[in-house]
Structure formats: structure tokens, C-alpha cells
């Protein structure tokens, strides 16, 4: 039993009792979310958590494992979402249309990420960050301009196949007090897809290939000297991250039955990803899980808490503004800056530091 679990997690165990407990709790909560937390807001939040787990984990492959900062990750996320949306709205809603759209999106992402990688990964990390920022901005403009294809600023609304549409009800009687419909089936499709893809990512980062990426992160000069073509490895990491982000985008589109620039391409989402990776923990995929769940939870429910604080401080001019629920990003930003300084390995690193020896930390070059 433990052997199988070990294999499933690619021998990358949580290595902390608290982290393991948190992960199991989150997994169970997400697995039974439709029954534990009925209501469309709670289910929407749970689905968003799932999508973000995959999206952030794929970004962690780039930032945490390879040490590359990219600002074009939402571009690939958007390509996946638009692929499914365009496929489903142009053709009859069916799984074939989704598959076709997804395949086209994956192909576009592959070519784009390869081009960007080969074009700019030869130079410094900082250069790559700037180039991707510019490319992502251009892509966002492109998506809003090509309104015949992408629906412009309004985006695309489309129908899912019959089985995944909200009107589909397979069982006559409610199951465990909840009426099972296509929406819940879609949720479980997302859940299974995210679990499988997450385990695949875990496999990738714990393979010899993943070790080379980490070596490049720690010291690219040394990695090159040992004989690894760092450009090739960096580009591969870039392509893989892009493909996984595309899949995450496709899942989001399936869930929302809508794709628009605000839900997929906006710079705010890129910032959210950065915040989650850093707060959750860079260089460990479990950080993506913990970070995404906490972040989306905070996004949906912390604002209610801040609302309480605001009503208590009503009338105080500036302080009242500071705890306003609209300013919750301020607090996350502060947390982000503190996280980069004081615990660069994030929440997961903190939890692990409690039990494991410093041997787990990377030696300084």
C-alpha cells in the first residue's frame, strides 16, 4: 500500500506530518465538495481551486524547478481556453469538438513556446522575463482585436456536450441529498483530470530530466560544464509548462462554458499565479496545491472577513480604506514580499522545516 502510494507520488512524499495532513484534508474536501458544500458559489470556488492547482503547478515547473521567470503563462492558459471555446462554438457541442479545439490549442502552444524559448532563453533570465511580458501583452491585444474568432472583449459563450450541461440529470432521485447534474459531472471530470495531470507533473520533476532542471536552477554554468545543453533543457521545460497550462485553460473553459480575456489572459491572473507560487512554495509542487486552495479560499471568503473589519473601522478615513474588502490584494502583496525575503520556500518549506534536517535545503554553490 505504501509502496504503491510511493510510486504514485514518484517518491516525492510530503515529508512533513502537517503538510501530509493538510494535503489529505484538501484532497478529501475537493473530492467530495459537491456533497459537502452544496451551492453554486462553493462549487465554483472548488472548481477554480482545481484549475489553479494545475496552472500553478505547471508554472512552478518553470519558476521553481528551472528558475525561469515567465510572464506569458496566462497566454498559454488562454490558448487552451480559447481552443475549447472556439471548437465548441463553431462546431456542434460534442466531445469531438472539444478534443479538436484542445488539439489545435496544444499545437499552437507548442509552436509558440518553442519559438519564444529558442528566441530568448539563450540570454539571461531577466531578458526572458521582459520578452514574455511584451509577448503576452501583444497576444492579449490580438485576442481582443480578432473579434470574429475570439469574440473580442465580450468573449465566447458556448454549450458543453449534453452529458456536461447543467440540464442533464442522470438520476431521478437526489444522491446524498444533492441532485446530481451535468455541472457536478463536469466538476468530477475536472477533478480526475487535475489529479492525473498533477501526478504526471510530479513524475516529470522527479525524473532525471527534472533533476537536470534543478541543476540548471542552482547553477547553470556548472550544469553546462557537466555537459547538459542548458538551452535545450530550458526550452523543453518551457514547452512542457506551456502545454500543461493549455490543458488547465481548457478545463477552465469547460467549467465556465465561457472564455473571455478577463478570465484567462489578463495580467491580474498572471499576478495571482506569481502570488500563489511564492506563497505556497517555489520548487515544490505541493506548494501549488496548498497555495491555490488557500488563495482561492481567501479570494472568495477573506473579503467577507475584511468587510467585518471595515464596518468596525467605519468613518476612519485612511485606515478604513486599508481594510476595505476591495483592497485584499494589498495584504497579499505584503505577504508576497515578506515571503520572498523570509521564507522563499513558502508555506510548504515552513511546514517541512519543522521536521526535516537542513539537508533538504539546497546547498549554496
Amino acid at each position: 500500500m505504501t509502496g504503491m502510494l510511493n510510486r504514485l507520488l514518484s517518491h516525492d512524499l510530503p515529508r512533513s506530518r502537517w503538510l501530509a495532513a493538510a494535503l489529505v484534508l484538501m484532497l478529501l474536501a475537493l473530492a467530495f465538495a459537491p456533497f459537502l458544500f452544496p451551492g453554486s458559489k462553493a462549487l465554483g470556488a472548488a472548481a477554480k481551486m482545481l484549475v489553479f492547482v494545475l496552472l500553478v503547478a505547471s508554472y512552478d515547473l518553470l519558476l521553481g524547478y528551472t528558475g525561469i521567470v515567465s510572464f506569458a503563462h496566462t497566454m498559454f492558459f488562454g490558448i487552451g481556453a480559447y481552443g475549447v471555446a472556439i471548437g465548441s462554438s463553431r462546431l456542434e457541442p460534442s466531445f469531438g469538438a472539444i478534443a479538436l479545439g484542445l488539439a489545435a490549442a496544444l499545437a499552437v502552444s507548442l509552436v509558440l513556446s518553442l519559438l519564444i524559448g529558442l528566441f530568448s532563453l539563450r540570454v539571461k533570465a531577466i531578458f526572458y522575463a521582459m520578452i514574455t511580458l511584451a509577448v503576452a501583452a501583444a497576444f492579449q491585444t490580438l485576442a481582443s482585436q480578432l473579434s470574429d474568432v475570439t469574440g473580442g472583449e465580450d468573449g465566447l459563450t458556448f454549450k458543453n456536450p449534453e452529458v456536461l450541461s447543467p440540464s442533464f440529470e442522470p438520476f431521478a432521485a437526489p444522491l446524498l441529498g444533492v441532485t446530481v447534474d451535468g455541472k457536478i459531472l463536469t466538476y468530477y471530470l475536472l477533478f480526475v483530470a487535475v489529479v492525473v495531470l498533477f501526478l504526471a507533473l510530479l513524475r516529470i520533476v522527479n525524473s532525471p530530466f527534472g533533476r537536470v532542471l534543478q541543476a540548471i536552477r542552482e547553477n547553470d554554468f556548472r550544469a553546462e560544464a557537466i555537459g547538459f545543453r542548458t538551452v535545450v533543457y530550458r526550452t523543453l521545460s518551457n514547452v512542457l509548462a506551456a502545454l500543461f497550462a493549455t490543458l488547465a485553460g481548457a478545463l477552465l473553459a469547460l467549467w465556465l462554458r465561457y472564455t473571455g480575456p478577463d478570465t484567462t489572459l489578463s495580467f491580474e491572473i498572471m499576478l495571482d499565479i506569481l502570488l500563489i507560487v511564492v506563497i505556497g512554495g517555489m520548487g515544490t509542487l505541493y506548494g501549488a496545491v496548498v497555495g491555490s486552495v488557500i488563495f482561492v479560499f481567501a479570494q472568495n471568503y477573506l473579503q467577507d472577513l475584511l468587510k467585518l473589519g471595515q464596518s468596525a473601522l467605519e468613518g476612519v478615513p485612511l485606515i478604513g480604506q486599508v481594510v476595505s474588502p476591495d483592497r485584499w490584494l494589498l495584504w497579499l502583496g505584503v505577504l508576497f514580499v515578506l515571503a520572498v525575503y523570509h521564507f522563499p520556500s513558502g508555506i510548504v518549506g515552513r511546514l517541512r522545516a519543522g521536521v526535516s534536517t537542513p539537508a533538504g535545503q539546497a546547498p549554496t554553490p
Binding site: V69, M130, A134, A138, V278, L330, F336, V340
Partner: protein
């Protein structure tokens, strides 16, 4: 005595001077001249060129600090945009607060605009100093952390601006004295653009003079080329860097005022929007190069205006197209800084 002087002079001549690289300047001229037959009417061309130069000047003012900071300390400040937004918002407060008592008198209106610019520069400089202390200083030499931390600084800064001035768009109307245009033959050139050009030219001249003729400028240029060497000669380059960072922030604040008046309104997101443009400009110019930044900014401004007239849809992508074209020609930018 005389012999010694000639010997020194001979020695100075013996060292070959670095040839000035005129090709980027030729590129700029070629773009301007090539646009004339494409546009057709000389007066339209003149109007567009003036608009492009004005926009380029504003972008240069904002971007110059960014590129110098990068050149000197290898620090790329992703939070530079905050100072732009800050400057613009300070200007809305100053101009809005003083709007009552300047009606009718154009001299007073212009005085208020200049007062707003100085206030914006002062506030941006002060915040820049704090930003350097709190955010940037602990992460020297760590590229990855720099990118993350300055990005975090931008998030926090933008939110603080929203706390102080509110999240909504604030109008920043041009005072009446600066509205309207000058007629040059058939070509109409807006007054405000002339002002922007003049301010940009003054800033560029002052910067060029400081860099080329003063001791501080000498140290900055030497520091860009080889920081360790300057340090080993006994100069505290870190102090110099703080100065450059503060000056760069002040210039970004000034640029923010100019940009806000150019757009006639200000949003807290203005910084993040302009950031993309800035990075394109300093990549085109060659990271760390001031002259490259100047030419890159002019190229971007001119291209934006020409393509905006010739093919409005293409104009949205003119910047990135320009960047790709320049990088294919010179992968390190127009004026590559050695040692990078």
C-alpha cells in the same frame, strides 16, 4: 614643459578613439524619411512626426532611469511603473487643488502645471528612496528574487495608490493655456506636444551633459562598464546607485505627469500598462545604454504614430514588431553595453 605637453598629446592620439556607431541614428533617420512617401502629404507627415517625437520624449524620460539603474547595478526594477502612476496622481491632486485661482491667466495655469511636475518629482523621489531601501537593497545580485520582489512592490504600490486616490479613473485635463495647436504651414502641431518635446529635450540634454561632462557622470559611466573596477578605486558605487535610483524614480514621476496629461486621464493601472512599453524600449536600445534608450524611445514613438495613421490595426503590434526586427539585427539591442 612644452615637450612634455606634446608628448602627452601624442600619446593621447596614439590611443585610437572608439568610433561612434552611427547606424542606429541612420535607422532613425531612415524611418522618418521612409514615412514621408508612404504618408504622402508633407503636412500630415510633419504633424505625425511631431507627435511621434513628443511621445518618444515622454517615454524616454520614463525609461531612462530604468535603463541606468539596470546598467549600473544589474537591477531590473519591475516596479518602475508605480512611480509613473504616483507622479500622475500627485499631479491630479495639485492641479485639481489649484484649479480655482488660475482661471483666465495662462501664465498661472502653466505655473501650476510646472508646480505639479515638481511636486510629482519630489514625491516620486522620496518614495523611490524608500523603495530602494526596503524592497531592492536586500536582493542585490539575485535576479530571480529581484523580479519577484519588485513585482510584489508594484502590486503593493498600486494598491496603496488605490487606497489614497481611489480605484477609479481620474481625469487630468490639460489647462486651457496648453490646448490648441500651432500652425506650421498646413501642419497643425499641438501646443502640449511642443511642451513635451521641449521638456524631453531639456532632460536629455541635462542627462547627456551630466554623464559626459561631470565627475559623477564619469563614475556612472565607468560603473556601467565595470563596477568592481570603480569600487576598487575607492568610490562607493552603492551610494551613487541610490542617487541614480532616486533620480530615475523622480524622472518616472515627471514622465507620469506628462503621460497623464497626454492621455488626459489617470488610472492606478497606468504603471503596469506603460511598463510593457518601457521594457520594449530598453530592450531595443540595449540594456543599460542611455543613448540607445533615447533612440529606442523615439523609434517607438514615431512607429506608433506612423502606423497608427497608415494601418491602425497594425499599430497595436508595431512595438513588438519593431523589437523583434531590431533584435534580429542586433541581438543585444541597438547599443550593446559591454560586460553584459
Amino acid at each position: 614643459m612644452n615637450a612634455l605637453a606634446t608628448a602627452v598629446a601624442a600619446e593621447a592620439n596614439a590611443v585610437p578613439k572608439a568610433l561612434f556607431d552611427w547606424k542606429p541614428l541612420a535607422l532613425l533617420a531612415a524611418v522618418v524619411l521612409l514615412a514621408l512617401p508612404l504618408i504622402g502629404s508633407p503636412s500630415t507627415w510633419l504633424t505625425l512626426t511631431a507627435a511621434g517625437v513628443a511621445m518618444g520624449m515622454i517615454v524616454f524620460i520614463i525609461a531612462s532611469g530604468l535603463t541606468l539603474v539596470f546598467g549600473l547595478m544589474d537591477v531590473l526594477n519591475f516596479g518602475h511603473g508605480v512611480f509613473i502612476a504616483l507622479g500622475a496622481f500627485v499631479a491630479t491632486s495639485v492641479i485639481g487643488g489649484a484649479s480655482g485661482w488660475a482661471e483666465g491667466s495662462s501664465a498661472a495655469q502653466i505655473a501650476i502645471v510646472f508646480a505639479a511636475m515638481f511636486a510629482a518629482m519630489a514625491v516620486a523621489a522620496a518614495v523611490g528612496w524608500a523603495f530602494e531601501r526596503v524592497i531592492v537593497r536586500p536582493v542585490y545580485g539575485l535576479h530571480l528574487k529581484q523580479i519577484l520582489i519588485t513585482m510584489g512592490g508594484m502590486i503593493v504600490g498600486e494598491e496603496i495608490i488605490k487606497v489614497v486616490w481611489g480605484p477609479q479613473q481620474v481625469p487630468l485635463p490639460l489647462p486651457e493655456a496648453l490646448r490648441g495647436s500651432y500652425l506650421l504651414g498646413d501642419a497643425a502641431i499641438e501646443r502640449y506636444r511642443v511642451l513635451a518635446m521641449v521638456i524631453g529635450a531639456v532632460v536629455f540634454a541635462a542627462m547627456a551633459w551630466t554623464l559626459a561632462r561631470t565627475k559623477i557622470g564619469l563614475l556612472i559611466r565607468a560603473g556601467v562598464q565595470d563596477r568592481e573596477m570603480v569600487e576598487s578605486l575607492g568610490y562607493r558605487i552603492r551610494r551613487l546607485f541610490v542617487g541614480v535610483f532616486v533620480a530615475g524614480s523622480a524622472l518616472a514621476g515627471l514622465g507620469g505627469v506628462l503621460w497623464g496629461l497626454y492621455q488626459q486621464n489617470v488610472t492606478p493601472q497606468i504603471g503596469a500598462q506603460v511598463n510593457v512599453l518601457l521594457f520594449i524600449v530598453i530592450i531595443i536600445g540595449g540594456l543599460g545604454s542611455t543613448l540607445g534608450c533615447f533612440i529606442g524611445a523615439l523609434l517607438v514613438g514615431l512607429m506608433a504614430n506612423y502606423t497608427g495613421f497608415l494601418a491602425p490595426k497594425v499599430a497595436l503590434f508595431s512595438n513588438i514588431g519593431l523589437m523583434v526586427a531590431v533584435l534580429l539585427w542586433r541581438p543585444q539591442g541597438l547599443y550593446p553595453v559591454t560586460n553584459r
